[in-house]
């Protein structure tokens, strides 16, 4: 295995009564990366995450954690934010954070010190002696995030981390995730929200129908799916060109014409110089498919065949 791989999933299969939740999965998650784990509902993401968290065991295959076969000593090195959030409603904020820290083998003192640090950082100082049930949803989400990272885990697994956050808090959490990565943590980020994947992930892995359908760095994945589409925004009339556009229309919003060409990348310069003679080019860009488009394409492929 690669020395830069932090978590390796080898041939993992897990079945429940009558059906396979995941089948021969292989993933390699690079150290210090933010890894987007994608897949439609019911694809097997949660099962994989539960196996990594040792909540359930795989039927076959193995998981390698930082060079060792996954074992219970790794639990305190993992932080997990489940999709379905849950806190003890009747417990006070500070008390609850300390309790969960201690469940992750932190001493009472250390747990309290770190809890106060994070409470201060997230502006929850006025709420630390309040019961969780008195908190707004966004604040409760912050508390949940603190629980996940309090013990400074090397592997952080976030299942839909932004659900329930307003844009301001989403940015705050994004910044924290980046910061945690900078400090050496590896992050697995499971979501349906593709825009956020492109924005913060370095790598993606996609599961569909219990199997891996795609894996790689964001750039590689997008490049491998490109259809050689180039989009031009311009003022003026195209006239006669050697290259005929796939489509042309007027963008009302920008008050510009837009044409899409499908050409071999080696011809892009020729196209530009030809266009330059005819029209005033405002922008010329290669259209890479978004992760969302790739995702939908992959899911559709799965359905058809």
């Amino acid at each position: 295995m690669n020395e830069h791989t932090f978590l390796e999933v080898n041939n993992v299969t897990k079945g429940y009564e009558g059906h396979l939740a995941i089948k021969n999965l292989n993933f390699a998650i690079p150290k210090g990366s933010i890894y987007g784990l994608l897949g439609p509902n019911g694809a097997g993401k949660t099962t994989l995450i539960r196996i990594i968290n040792q909540i359930t065991a795989a039927d076959s295959g193995e998981v390698i954690f930082d060079g060792e076969r996954l074992n219970p000593s790794h639990i305190s090195r993992i932080g997990y934010l489940p999709e379905e959030r849950g806190l003890y409603k009747k417990m006070k904020v500070l008390e609850q954070i300390i309790y969960f820290g201690r469940l992750k083998d932190l001493s009472k003192k250390e747990s309290e010190k770190r809890a106060l640090f994070w409470i201060d950082k997230f502006g929850l100082n006025d709420w630390k002696y309040k019961k969780v049930e008195e908190l707004s949803k966004g604040m409760a989400q912050k508390v949940q995030f603190i629980l996940t990272v309090l013990h400074e885990p090397e592997l952080i697994i976030l299942d839909e981390p932004f659900s329930g956050f307003d844009p301001v808090n989403t940015e705050l959490i994004k910044k924290e995730i980046q910061l945690l990565r900078k400090n050496g943590a590896t992050v697995i980020f499971s979501t349906h929200r593709m825009e956020s994947v492109e924005e913060i992930c370095d790598y993606v892995g996609m599961i569909n129908l219990s199997q891996k359908v795609l894996e790689g760095s964001i750039v590689d994945v997008r490049n491998s799916f490109k259809k050689n589409e180039y989009e031009v925004l311009y003022r003026g009339d195209l006239g006669d060109l050697t290259y005929s556009p796939k489509s042309t229309n007027f963008e009302q919003r920008l008050s510009l014409n837009k044409s899409v060409f499908i050409i071999d990348p080696t011809e892009s310069r020729a196209l530009i110089s030809e266009l330059n003679k005819q029209v005033e080019i405002v922008s010329f860009s290669e259209e890479l498919p978004s992760i969302k488009e790739i995702f939908i394409q992959k899911v559709e492929e799965g359905k058809n065949g």
Binding site: E17, R50, N53, Q54, I55, T56, A57, I75, S76, I78, Y80, P82, E84, R85, G86, L87, Y88, K89, K90, M91, Y99, F100, R102, L103, K104, Q144, L147
Partner: protein, 446 residues
């Protein structure tokens, strides 16, 4: 163990700190005392809420006319106006019923007595009327046989049985059956209520964690088994705390009352009772009647350490066994409303044992049925507690050992079983498990 301890602590502290715990701890004994107070009051003053039944008697034989005993329950009036008998409507009269005694009725032919009323007769009233008529006839037979009234009075006898328990050496210890009953029943009722109350609390806690989805976060830090055991232990501690508070309070209350009522005499009587030689003269000297003396000497003869130990053992054993089952039920369902189906097999043996305790076991604490019920683990925590004050440890020690041994064995088994169901169940959402599925979960690995 460290994490079980931490979970136990959380379960304990969050519950004990609640206001409702304090309120229940204070209120529950008051409510129970009030409840039993009302029952005892009504039992003693059974005339309350009871109207006097006025009964009109048509005695054609004139045998019992004017001789039926009337009191505040039954009041007999007599008439000779049987002409109206069939015409009169009872609903317009003050009488609740009427008795017709035919002229063929005699000391040796008591057939043909008829009671008529608009409402059907209760068993109790029927019995009472029968007795009154029989008594009247018997009295007349006595007179006919030449027994004088003073001789009849002297026939009345009252015997108070003093129960002694013999040790193997033949040493007699006096025991009070009434006291044994009260202590045995009291202790088993406490166990019964605690298993129910705290078992259901364990179940609710599991369901709460499941519906709040906290369980997913926790089981990524601790094993499901540790979580379950922490919960079970935490609630056991809450229960013990509550009992401890009650023991301390009732201890204070008892000493205040006994000091106020009996003063320093109690000590003297107790000393005398311990020697086992409290004579009637001494009783009279202390100004006590038989009953109280019996109770005090019975109390002194009780094997208090044994009863206390068995209370703790059966309380914990029974609670651990049942609460593990309750935890499994909580794990198997999504919402509290779905618990019915799985609750029944758990509550049935509990209700069964408390019901039998008040009847069969108390009637014959050392009988075959009582023996088996106190050996079978599902019923033993309650039944054995009823029997405990009646047991003679020198000859019946093996029964206790067997029962405790089986209880420990079966709570290990139920905890293992519940742990398996719990582990699978807590992460199952959206569907209600069936018994078949629960059975399968027992054999899932990892």
């Amino acid at each position: 163990m460290g994490k079980i301890g931490l979970i136990t602590w959380r379960e304990y502290i969050t519950r004990v700190r609640k206001k409702s715990f304090l309120i229940m701890t204070i209120l529950a004994p008051l409510l129970i005392a009030l409840f039993y107070g009302i029952i005892i009051f009504l039992a003693v003053n059974d005339s309350i809420g009871q109207e006097t039944d006025k009964i009109l008697v048509y005695d054609e034989s004139h045998l019992v006319e004017g001789k039926l005993f009337s009191d505040d329950r039954l009041e007999f009036s007599y008439t000779t106006d049987w002409e109206h008998r069939s015409n009169d409507s009872l609903s317009e009269s003050v009488y609740s019923g009427r008795i017709y005694i035919p002229d063929t009725f005699g000391l040796y032919n008591t057939r043909g007595v008829v009671y008529e009323s608009e409402n059907s007769l209760s068993v109790e009233t029927k019995e009472r009327i029968n007795n009154r008529i029989e008594k009247a006839v018997e009295d007349q037979k006595m007179v006919q046989l030449g027994v004088s009234e003073s001789a009849m009075d002297s026939l009345k006898t009252h015997v108070s049985l003093k129960a002694l328990t013999l040790s193997e050496e033949g040493e007699a210890k006096s025991s009070s059956t009434e006291l044994n009953t009260v202590i045995g029943m009291g202790a088993s009722f406490v166990i019964y209520f605690f298993i129910f109350l705290y078992g259901v609390q364990v179940m609710k806690g599991v369901i709460e964690e499941k519906t709040n989805r906290i369980v997913e976060v926790i089981v990524s830090s601790v094993k499901p088994f540790e979580l379950m055991m922490g919960k079970v232990f935490g609630l056991a501690m809450v229960g013990l705390t509550q009992i401890l508070i009650w023991i301390i309070f009732s201890g204070i209350l008892m000493s205040v009352i006994s000091f106020a009522v009996f003063g320093s005499q109690v000590g003297d009587i107790a000393d005398a009772a311990q020697v086992g030689s409290l004579s009637a003269e001494q009783m009279a000297q202390f100004g006590m009647n038989d009953m109280i003396g019996n109770i005090i000497s019975g109390f002194m003869s009780l094997n208090i350490p044994f009863i206390m130990t068995s209370f703790i053992v059966y309380f914990l054993g029974g609670y651990l066994m049942y609460s593990a089952l309750f935890a499994a039920v909580g794990a198997a369902v999504d919402a509290e409303t779905d618990t019915q189906q799985f609750m029944l097999p758990i509550t049935l043996p509990l209700v069964f044992s408390i019901a039998l305790s008040t009847s069969v076991v108390l009637r014959d604490p050392n009988g075959t049925l009582s023996f088996w019920l106190s050996i079978i683990p599902l019923t033993s925590p309650i039944v054995m507690m009823v029997r405990a004050p009646f047991l003679n440890l020198e000859t019946q020690w093996w029964e206790v050992l067997l029962s405790v041994g089986l209880l420990i064995g079966s709570f290990c088994f139920t905890i293992w079983m519940a742990g398996k169901i719990y582990r699978t169940g807590i992460l199952m959402y959206g569907k209600k498990a069936t018994y078949k599925e629960l059975f399968k979960w027992l054999f899932y690995k990892g």
